[in-house]
């Protein structure tokens, strides 16, 4: 009964088209925003902000990016980490080479670089599909990392190819404390996530989904598959690029091209599979799961069983349990965490009387 919609009538188109048509959702969403913007910075310590929340937010953004491409437009991609690298190195170079470049503009330009590269590597999607396309994006993964290493100009001729992010400053305010970095990351992620949510409900989003479900049928009803696919690649890469720039600027501080390896691409792919393919909220769930679970296991292994078994075994057990959990989870709920959330909502709608 928590989700009782009785009495909520939509009397105008505007009301019918809002993101959260149910009042409970609107209240819940506002409460979540207030909690993360207002309460978390007050109660969370440095460790939580810097080492847990910031990476979860950044990976959520990258997962949204991949979800747009794979979940909504149906184009498989294994190059998300490379697009993150383009965003990071792009933003770094814009801020390095243009004096007085504002931080947010630099980040957006980094994202646009990634979008351009994404479109270039998305071109094969016009001809090939599925696994074949995945292999084409795999080429992007290898090519981009190779190019960033090969041409020292990208890393400003640093002796080891590592870039150190510049100070983050907006309108004279320096974002150097964990709280301020967290709030900045959260603000960027929240805005882009809302944007993504709206985008997938718009004409563009609908054309993506039409192409995903059956591209021939989509073409027949007047959707341009080329346009749909390339916009999906552009938007997806833009999101990954911004995530990469944030990864460099608000999380690690220094990044090297090897940091954006195939491993990371797979991790982002796991995030959307675990979280829920074709769901913005699922991207957040998936990122939280993939980032937090290994840390949780590590802490548990050390604090509970630390003395009782060899350290090497603990580390290996962590991986085993993590892998096992993923498999178990996918068997029990193949549609991901977002589906669980949806089921929970359905149950709450009827609660406490299931029939």
């Amino acid at each position: 009964m928590l989700y009782r919609e009785a009495g909520q009538f939509k009397a105008s188109y505007q009301e019918d088209q809002q993101i959260f048509p149910i009042r409970q959702d609107r209240i819940g969403f506002a409460a979540i925003l207030v909690f993360f913007f207002g309460v978390v910075p007050l109660v969370a310590n440095q460790y939580w902000l810097q080492a847990i929340l910031i990476p979860v937010l950044i990976f959520s953004l990258a997962a949204i990016g991949l979800n747009i491409l794979t979940g909504y437009a149906g184009q498989l991609s294994l190059g998300s980490a490379a697009f993150m690298a383009v965003g990071a190195f792009g933003a770094y170079n814009f801020m390095l080479r243009i004096d007085g470049m504002p931080f947010l503009v630099g980040i957006v330009l980094g994202g646009l670089c990634a979008a351009a590269v994404g479109v270039a590597f998305g071109l094969p999607s016009l001809r090939i599909k599925g696994f074949y396309l995945a292999v084409a994006t795999l080429a992007a993964q290898f090519f981009i990392v190779w190019a960033l290493v090969k041409f020292p100009w990208f890393s400003n001729h640093a002796s080891s190819g590592v870039i150190t992010a510049q100070r983050v400053e907006i309108l004279g305010y320096a974002f150097d404390s964990p709280v301020s970095k967290y709030l900045l990351t959260l603000a960027v992620v929240a805005v882009l996530a809302l944007l993504a949510k709206n985008l997938v409900r718009s004409t563009t989003g609908r054309s993506w989904m039409a192409v995903r479900d059956m591209d021939v049928a989509a073409e027949v009803i007047g959707i341009r598959p080329m346009h749909a696919k390339l916009t999906a690649f552009a938007v997806s890469s833009f999101y990954c690029g911004v995530a990469g720039a944030l990864y460099a600027y608000t999380y690690l501080g220094t990044v090297e091209p090897e940091g954006f390896s195939l491993d990371l691409s797979f991790k982002i792919l796991f995030m959307i599979i675990i979280g829920g393919v074709g769901s913005i909220m699922g991207s957040f769930f998936g990122a939280a799961f993939i980032v937090l679970m290994p840390i949780f296991l590590n802490v548990v292994m050390h604090s509970v069983f630390g003395g009782a078994m060899p350290a090497g075994m603990g580390s290996n057990l962590e991986l085993i349990i993590f892998g096992g959990l993923i498999i178990f989870f996918l068997i029990v709920e193949p549609h991901g965490l977002a589906r669980l959330w949806q089921l929970g909502k359905e149950k709450l709608r009827l609660w406490p009387f299931p029939h």
């Binding site: 460790y47 990476p55 080891s160 150190t164 501080g253 090897e258 350290a311 075994m313 962590e318």
Partner: protein
């Protein structure tokens, strides 16, 4: 059965809690280790040696002036993002917080380089990391001790020159640099270019992609080039593959000289016969016949408290390197206590002073039971490197044999480059270098 298990776990938790309450005077050391992944076996040996040394100090001396050493591991998987998480997690543990951070990964070193200065936690990167951090005036919180990559590259070239019968003979020779394509591998480029120019040898750089288990193309290239020597700049699984592929392509292993991260049993044993005759640099030697290692066997392993699962690796190169980490950390605690009060746990800031004033001469090394085990060390405010000496060891198919005395690099050349690079960093970041004449 179920009851027994529950009781066991309960007892373990109770024991853990109890141990936490008893030891109030303890020095906490956070260990960002890795025991899984492509470099896992290396991490296991090194951190094993380090933990065993600290355990031995606790057993034998009851800690440092009565302050017990305590530590906690955090698995990084050699991954930068996980390393940052570990750094943050360990930062505030123990009565005085984490007293030193030693990640054994160049990538993680870079990622926390600015954080350690903010949090006032000294980062000790023995034999790796950002080379120009050896300039303590610009990097007060980073200690790339014993030998940086640049000194090492220079010492390797000196060794090759020595083998050829004089540095002048290097002119016109061809040297290949087979490197791990990462920040770690590329750290060597600047100095190798400079040395090639100075001594007139021809340098060819050949990159191997991470983690390095595919090198067919690279060795084909080497076979075409026919270099007089190949410097192997690898880590983990890359080294054994390099030696095996060298054997397959018929390149003599006697002409392959490894850096210290390519010179452990973890690299040669998997390569089997292909490793025979291969030489590698090292700033510590292998073997168990040093009093310090024997103390560990007597006081730790005899009581079944050892950290190594594979006890046969006690005394291996990387295990002994872990002992070096232990010796340096414990000596720094001792030094800091002399100034800031014996019998008290030291804060990160006090530890930094301890590291910066660390002088371990040969006499002290003999007292520690480590004469000839590692080079003597003299850290100052300006010079965070402090030794710069290497020994070369050759693999005879079963064990490492030391083939040279301590060889030094071209200190003058390297120091000049370090200062130049550090100043460029200071300028980029707006740091005013410290005035070392005013420090005591």
């Amino acid at each position: 059965m179920q009851l027994k298990k529950t009781a066991l776990i309960g007892a373990a938790i109770a024991g853990l809690l109890a141990s936490g309450y008893v030891a109030a005077q303890e020095q906490f050391i956070g260990l960002p280790s890795y025991r899984v992944g492509p470099f896992g076996s290396n991490g296991a040996s090194l951190y094993g040696g380090w933990i065993d040394y600290m355990m031995m100090v606790n057993e034998r001396d009851g800690g440092v002036n009565g302050v017990k050493l305590s530590w906690e591991e955090c698995e990084t998987e050699y991954n930068n993002a996980r390393g940052v998480e570990c750094y943050e997690r360990l930062k505030n543990k123990g009565p005085t917080g984490n007293s030193t951070f030693q990640p054994l990964s160049t990538g993680i070193t870079y990622s926390v380089l600015e954080k350690v200065a903010q949090d006032k936690i000294p980062m000790v990167t023995i034999g790796y990391g950002r080379t120009d951090a050896a300039d303590g005036r610009v990097f007060p919180w980073v200690f790339p001790m014993i030998s940086t990559y640049w000194t090492q590259a220079s010492a390797i070239v000196n060794y090759i020159g020595q083998k050829e019968g004089g540095m002048a003979k290097l002119k016109g020779k061809k040297i290949g640099l087979l490197y791990h394509d990462s920040a770690y591998g590329k750290e060597s480029h600047a100095i190798m270019d400079k040395l090639a120019e100075k001594h007139g040898f021809e340098l060819t750089k050949v990159a191997v992609a991470n983690p390095g288990n595919e090198q067919q193309a690279q060795w084909l290239q080497i076979r075409q080039l026919k270099p007089d020597y190949v410097v192997l700049w690898g880590w983990g699984v890359m080294n054994a593959t390099a030696l095996r592929t060298a054997a397959k392509t018929g390149y003599p292993r006697e002409k392959v000289v490894g850096v210290w991260w390519s010179g452990s049993e973890e690299d040669t044993i998997p390569a089997g016969d292909a490793a025979k005759g291969y030489t590698a640099a090292g700033f510590n030697v292998a073997g168990t016949n040093y009093p310090v290692v024997q103390d560990i066997q007597k006081l730790v392993y005899a009581k079944n408290k050892g950290n190594m699962e594979d006890k046969s690796r006690v005394g291996s190169v990387l295990y002994n390197r872990g002992v070096v980490h232990g010796i340096i950390t414990v000596e720094a605690i001792r030094k800091a206590q002399e100034k800031f009060g014996k019998g008290k746990p030291m804060t990160g800031e006090q530890m930094r002073w301890g590291f910066e004033n660390l002088h371990i001469d040969n006499k002290r090394l003999a007292e520690l039971g480590a004469a000839g085990f590692m080079p003597d060390l003299n850290i100052t405010c300006a010079d965070h490197e402090g030794a710069g000496k290497l020994k070369f060891q050759q693999w005879d198919g079963a064990k490492w044999t030391v083939v040279t005395d301590w060889i030094e690099g071209d200190r003058q050349l390297v120091r000049g480059m370090i200062e130049e690079s550090a100043m460029a960093y200071a300028k980029e970041k707006g740091i005013t270098p410290r005035d070392c004449t005013k420090e005591m």
